[in-house]
């Protein structure tokens, strides 16, 4: 009878408030140089190794990991506060963020001890960039159609095939990639995939840019041509990556980046409306504020459950579903509200810049990290329809 969804409020804590204040002060110092800032809108200056090192120095990468591996043993809620402030400020996190969010936790769980001791402290110091090799030309939403192969050799594995739409592959030091090690079976179509740690400097790897429609370089095609890997670079169990991938997604799907990618246009709408607030604009800002507040509470609720050691996959999918639909619609809503606001040329220009940037990235928000259709399938299963 009961619905499976659980969203309990996350507890507020002094530690979270403190770290949030520290991050705000840090970002305020970083911003005046003009390297980034909310006024630049989304999608600019997203990648800055020096910034990542400064984040690492402050202990804001690998925050929840064991100290033994360079982590800081802080809570998921403190990490949430750090990320949220960074995303709102449009800080350039992407050199370290994929490793912080996904690759690090995967290594912690599945990598051999020497790999953990070598790589995790360097990730936490902001020295390493990771990419995720999942999608392929014929395998996007249907991850289990992956064809790129890993074949056992005398002293390890040999990789062949292509990965596509791989974010930051051209900048990454390492990839965690999914490769076919056995054919899938009639009984289990998820069988036969394995996860590997791949040094992007390995001979046989070619990376080709796949540009965004506006010319931005984020995606790549990565070709593997007889790339040799040592045995220890297999992560977890051979042929059983599907289960490993599922638990990775609770971390990947529920964070504040799942509703804050277009925040820049809301900020500029607020700036525009604040000059001369009429009822239509005030009502719209009130609604958007309410919606954003509730998304934050949902995402925080999932962070609190991660902190409790749970894997709230279903709730994480709900956060991403509701969150990405909201952030995707935000530029169009803001545009409509802004149209009738009387404002100065300067505020108007600033708004238009953010509007253009967010309008252009909006389509990808319900595609990346699991399309909205896939998420709805997961939720449908969760509420008992499949």
């Amino acid at each position: 009878m009961s619905t499976a969804l659980v969203f309990e409020p996350a507890p507020a804590s002094a530690a979270t408030r403190e770290v949030r204040a520290e991050v705000r002060a840090f970002l305020a110092k970083e911003t005046p140089g003009g390297a980034f800032g909310p006024q630049h809108g989304a999608g600019t200056s997203r990648y800055d190794p020096d910034f990542s090192r400064r984040m690492g120095e402050r202990g804001w990468i690998g925050m929840t990991w064991p100290k033994k591996y360079g982590g800081h043993e802080r809570s998921h809620l403190e990490r949430y506060a750090v990320l949220e402030e960074c995303f709102v400020a449009n800080a350039p996190l992407w050199f370290h963020f994929i490793a912080d969010r996904q690759s690090g936790p995967v290594l912690l769980k599945y990598a051999a001890e020497p790999i953990k001791e070598n790589l995790l402290p360097r990730i936490a110091r902001g020295e390493l960039c990771f990419c995720i090799g999942m999608s392929e030309p014929d395998s996007g939403s249907d991850l289990f159609a992956a064809k790129a192969s890993a074949v056992r050799t005398n002293d390890g594995w040999r990789l062949n095939g292509r990965k596509l739409w791989t974010s930051h592959a051209h900048q990454a030091d390492y990839m965690i990639g999914v490769f076919r090690t056995s054919p899938r079976t009639d009984v289990d179509r998820r069988f036969g995939l394995s996860q590997f740690l791949i040094d992007m400097g390995s001979p046989g790897i070619t990376t080709r840019p796949v540009l965004h429609p506006n010319g931005g370089h984020e995606f790549n095609e990565v070709t593997f041509d007889d790339v040799e890997l040592p045995t220890k670079n297999l992560l977890g169990e051979v042929d059983m990556a599907s289960a490993q991938l599922t638990s990775e997604l609770a971390f990947e799907r529920s964070g504040p980046e799942r509703f804050l990618e277009t925040y820049g246009v809301l900020r500029e709408l607020v700036a525009l409306a604040a000059e001369n607030p009429d009822a239509r604009a005030a009502e719209a800002v009130g609604r958007l504020s309410a919606q954003l507040h509730v998304l934050r509470q949902m995402s925080l609720s999932v962070a609190a459950r991660l902190e409790a050691g749970e894997e709230p996959l279903l709730e994480a999918a709900v956060v991403k579903e509701v969150g990405t639909v909201w952030e995707q619609a935000l530029p169009a809503v803001a545009r409509d509200v802004a149209a009738l606001i009387e404002a100065s040329d300067a505020a108007r220009e600033s708004f238009e810049t953010a509007l253009r940037a967010t309008t252009l990235i909006a389509p990808k928000l319900t595609i990346q990290g699991g399309t909205i259709e896939i998420l709805r399938g997961i939720i449908a299963r969760g509420i008992g329809l499949r």
């Binding site: 619905t3 604009a281 509730v294 579903e321 709805r376 509420i383």
Partner: protein, 366 residues
């Protein structure tokens, strides 16, 4: 059910299952169930759950009261329990002991206002008062002309009103207060606009609506799993699955929003301690979820759900009613938007974050 470990909610759950089952109530040919249910609510002191101990009540926590409101919504409860809780709370905040019997509160809309003075008594015209005509007492919150809110206890036979009915068929009335003399008057603690009743009322209505939305998820997914068309349960069709996923997401947002404003129901030290953001956001977001959710539920249940025989209307019609009580989405959005725009642009985000949680209480040195 809301999370357990909570005696009040467990007790209410048992009572509602026994005496307020939506199916039974919907099929009832007379109103006898109401008296039986109300007697049980009084006997178990659930009606006094939010009255202070000094006034002879249970003084339950804000979280318990929110969970109770949510449970009322899950049953589409159509007796004035939430209204009686609010009345009891307001009276006891002003140091008055609530009398036994069902009560309601006024005003229940953001537009209406009442005034009180010792010389002229109450004044004002107040529409949409829930359950008026089905209660023994009315509790009016009025401005006293000296910058304070007063709470006024009025017996239900002390005034005249125009009976109306809500969309859900519950008693409702428009009330003319001019010249009405309260039986007791007390001063409420200072609360930020739009006032103690509007904030608490909106929070608890949001809780009821969140509960009703959870019920819609249950009713609709159960139906989609049973109803066969084109040779299979309609829940197997992707179009239906995606619609119900959206309903589940909206219900989740509503539950989150309501629970996240429960803390504001505890009295703050000063008016500034309780920002309007959590309550305003809850009423706005839950109202939006109600519109989407009720639409999806009706579409999924088809003609079956568009009959008096099915219980669906008990939930959807009340969801539509409750959207307007204690401030609609648009009204709260205007309040909240003006508030958020009244500060420097760089303070917008910090305000959104910092007002979401209770203010820090410095712990005393050991």
């Amino acid at each position: 059910m809301p999370e357990g470990g909570n005696l009040i909610v467990e007790m209410a759950g048992r009572l509602f299952r026994d005496l307020a089952d939506p199916q039974t109530v919907n099929a009832a040919t007379d109103e006898g169930w109401r008296d039986e249910l109300w007697a049980a609510l009084e006997e178990t002191e659930l009606t006094r759950a939010w009255v202070g101990e000094a006034q002879g009540g249970v003084a339950a926590s804000a979280q318990d009261i929110m969970a109770l409101a949510q449970l009322c919504g899950r049953f589409a409860l159509s007796v004035p329990l939430v209204e009686t809780l609010l009345a009891g709370r307001l009276l006891s905040l002003a140091g008055l002991a609530p009398p036994p019997g069902a009560a309601t509160i006024a005003p229940a809309t953001l537009k209406a206002a009442a005034t009180y003075s010792e010389t002229a008594g109450l004044a004002g015209s107040v529409g949409g008062v829930p359950f008026l005509g089905a209660v023994a007492w009315l509790v009016v919150v009025a401005a006293n002309g000296e910058g304070r809110e007063v709470v006024c206890l009025v017996p239900a036979d002390a005034f005249t009103f125009d009976p109306q009915a809500s969309l859900g068929g519950d008693a409702q009335a428009k009330l003319q207060l001019d010249g009405v003399r309260p039986e007791a008057v007390g001063i409420l603690p200072l609360t930020a606009p739009p006032g103690a009743l509007m904030l608490a009322g909106a929070a608890l209505r949001a809780g009821q609506m969140a509960g009703a939305l959870e019920a819609l998820v249950e009713i609709t997914t159960a139906y989609a799993g049973e109803r066969v068309a084109f040779g299979r349960p309609i829940g197997k069709f992707q179009a239906i699955q995606h619609a119900l996923t959206r309903l589940a997401g909206e219900a989740a947002a509503a539950v989150t929003a309501a629970k996240a404003c429960a803390w504001t129901l505890e009295p703050g030290g000063s008016p500034g301690d309780t920002p309007i953001l959590p309550v305003a956001a809850a009423k706005i977001r839950v109202g939006e979820a109600a519109a989407v959710g009720a639409g999806i539920a009706h579409q999924t249940l088809g003609a079956m759900g568009f009959t008096g025989e099915h219980i669906l209307h008990r939930f959807t019609h009340r969801l539509w009613d409750w959207r307007d009580d204690f401030g609609s989405e648009a009204e709260w959005a205007l309040c909240l938007g003006r508030e958020m725009l009244a500060r420097a642009v760089d303070d917008y985000w910090p305000a959104l974050v910092d007002q979401a949680d209770p203010p820090v209480v410095e712990s005393a040195a050991p």
